[in-house]
Symmetry: C2
Amino acid sequence: MHNERDNVPYAMNPSSGVPVYRQLMDAVRSDIASGRRPVGSILPSVRLVAKELEINPMTVSKAYSRLESEGLVERLPGRGMRVCARRTQAPISDRRKELEPFARQLVDHAYRLDLDASEIRRVLDPFLAELNHE
Amino acid sequence: MHNERDNVPYAMNPSSGVPVYRQLMDAVRSDIASGRRPVGSILPSVRLVAKELEINPMTVSKAYSRLESEGLVERLPGRGMRVCARRTQAPISDRRKELEPFARQLVDHAYRLDLDASEIRRVLDPFLAELNHE
DNA sequence: ATCACTGTCCTACTACGCTAATACACTTGA
DNA sequence: TCAAGTGTATTAGCGTAGTAGGACAGTGAT
């Protein structure tokens, strides 16, 4: 059922401390964002990915399921996971609220390190620049 | 040996998801930063705090030990934990490096929420303002 | 020396997250 | 209908973080 050309160019690092299923989520997210996996395409099956990466299909399934609850892909029973059209965004105020804990954490740690606002910006800016290039 | 006036006005929330020892660390850090526990003063003993908060002394000890490795307090064997004079800072470049993972995490989540650099700044700014007021 | 304090090492229990193995329901093509 | 392909519910094993209990060493006043 799967396309022979379906390659799975993901490379997981089991000893990085980052759970494998999260690494896989990031890889797939990146593929979708870049268009390598266009809207409507079917992700490689959990068993194929599992075989290539030498991990358990359930680990792949976990990644796929989480991406589904994020709204990036949808489950077609018996067929696979399909990349969704960009979901309707939550209101921007809600999304800002979701971001706040991470902003707070950043500032908390800066405070403990005795780094002021301008230092925070200095550390943050390269990442913001990277964000804009995408 | 301890002063009867040593009150332990901390209130832990065991079901908040935040480990008790971390809540206690934050409370003590706040006391030190505000001057309620001045440099040179001795923290209430682990057993006193444990009794007041109805937790195990080891949990308090864990909080104290971490604060010690942060350099906020020092251990006086047989006597207690004393609030330190502000420790010599690590080089600023090291401290910036320590902050980077949190900056990256913030930007990553913003990306997933489809929030751009200006939105990140908008969310972050109130926290930065708060930081400057202290 | 003794007593009443100090913090903590060591051990163990519990809860939770991550990964894996099996069995199942579903869909499609022959 | 049947075979081969989908994802996953369930269950289990493993490691780790958080918490707790008891024994221990250090300190200082008596």
